[in-house]
């Protein structure tokens, strides 16, 4: 089944995906700084961040009101709002939009929650096809170590507690993340992910991302892509 709408605007959409603790947010932040420093107009959009929807999501989470279906739908609503109001207009204007998580997050998480696979894929059919999707491949234990080792207190839905996997929140988180990881892995080929080995050093991962961006976009800013300065920027690792 074909997913997504082709992006006919001059802008570029770059997506990072991976399980919690895979380091993707760090990497997309470094990549967008690099692009910005080279004169690109860069915008950023994060999963679950629509000002119009987030109050509903927050309340639903706090009161534990979600079923797998409503959890899926409210995240699709949030995604749609960011796309309609922010991402699509900016791409039409020629910006580079960096997205921390995209529809693939729903494809992995919601299916693990028991939502029908073809239903959730259809739900996001209005999404624009990204130019590049970086998938941060992380062994489960490495990602868990990064999350559970820190001060981060696990939250109910984050740990998949709604699935009754275990009464222990850490154990539930482990099982939940393991299943999400398996879903991601099964999408690599189908969705054309660029796989980044997230066990490498931060710098090595960033170098790899930059060389993929140069390979895909060229070292000169493509025609139509917005710049912040007069001159043509060259991308160098």
């Amino acid at each position: 089944m074909s997913v997504f709408v082709p992006n006919r605007g001059p802008g570029r959409l770059i997506v990072v995906e991976g399980i919690d603790g895979s380091g993707k947010s760090t990497q997309i932040s470094l990549l967008s700084q690099w692009l910005r420093a080279r004169g690109y107009a860069v915008a950023f959009s994060e999963w679950n961040s629509s000002p119009m929807v987030c109050e509903t999501t927050r309340r639903g989470k706090k009161k534990e009101m979600f079923t797998p279906t409503t959890f899926s739908l409210i995240h699709a609503t949030d995604f749609a709002d960011r796309l309609e109001r922010y991402v699509v207009p900016l791409l039409k204007a020629g910006a580079v939009v960096c997205a921390d998580r995209y529809a693939y997050t729903a494809f992995a998480r919601d299916v693990v929650r028991g939502v029908d696979r073809s239903w959730v894929r259809n739900l996001y059919r209005f999404a624009l096809k990204p130019h590049l999707v970086f998938y941060f491949k992380t062994p489960l234990e490495v990602a868990l170590g990064r999350i559970l080792g820190g001060r981060h207190a696990l939250k109910y839905y984050e740990a998949g507690m709604d699935l009754d996997l275990s009464r222990n929140i850490e154990e539930s988180f482990r099982i939940f993340q393991g299943r999400i990881l398996a879903e991601y892995e099964s999408m690599i080929e189908e969705m054309g992910f660029h796989v980044i080995d997230a066990t490498k050093s931060i710098q090595a991962q960033q170098r790899e991302m930059r060389s993929i961006v140069i390979r895909e976009f060229g070292s000169r800013r493509p025609a139509g892509v917005l710049g912040t300065e007069g001159g043509i920027a060259r991308l160098r690792k």
């Binding site: 979600f66 079923t67 609503t77 028991g114 239903w119």
Partner: protein, 255 residues
Amino acid sequence: MRDYANKEPLSYYMTELPGIDYSSLQGRLIVIEGPDAVGRSTQIRRLKAWLEDMGHAVLDTEMARSALAGKGIKEAKLGNTLGPITMTLYYMTDFADRLENEIIPALRAGFVVLTDRYIFSIMARAIARGENRTWIEHAAGFALVPHAVFYLRAEVKDLISRVAVGRGQFDYWESGMDLRFGRDMFDSFVHYQARLIRVFDQLAGPYQFEVVDAKRPPGIVLDTLKASIERVFKATPTGTGKRKKLRRGALPARG
């Protein structure tokens, strides 16, 4: 468009909901659909009193009333940035919350559920705004198949007089002003409501609507609805046993 004529009441259209035991559902699900200002809520109020008088427990429910998303939708509609896809999905979230937390528990307890609008209004609004029909049909495919869908049908001119005389003003969203189908609220209302009626007409066949002429006085419309609901009840006796099989659209003849 898919045809759901062979679907049994209280099964799902396309997609099974996780965690629902469909065989435990035993009440009746009656849907009242139709465009804005056609008189749905008046009819629901009277039908509810009539059903309760006969000793039925009745749950009435309507759009944007869910505990989860009702407030968020109302706030979003006050602003000027609600896009058509976002609006569709927000209403779908609201519908799913009411379906799973109100409608299904009530049906399990043997209630008659009367709903003012269902997935069809969400679908019609999305399609009237140019969204993809297959997309919205699939997205709404987790809805339960009702025992009956009554489509209160009128022409745009009838709606106009109800809005102008009854309410005294045109509503921004009921006029489709987010997409500005005309120069002002009136022009936009006429254009948008005509589109909605056209979409409802297209949905009527595949989703087995019973079309009710709502241009007639409310009392006559009510009598028509009562007679049809009585036929639904006769065809689907509830009780302790399993529901009797009923093919929708194959209700016993009138009279």
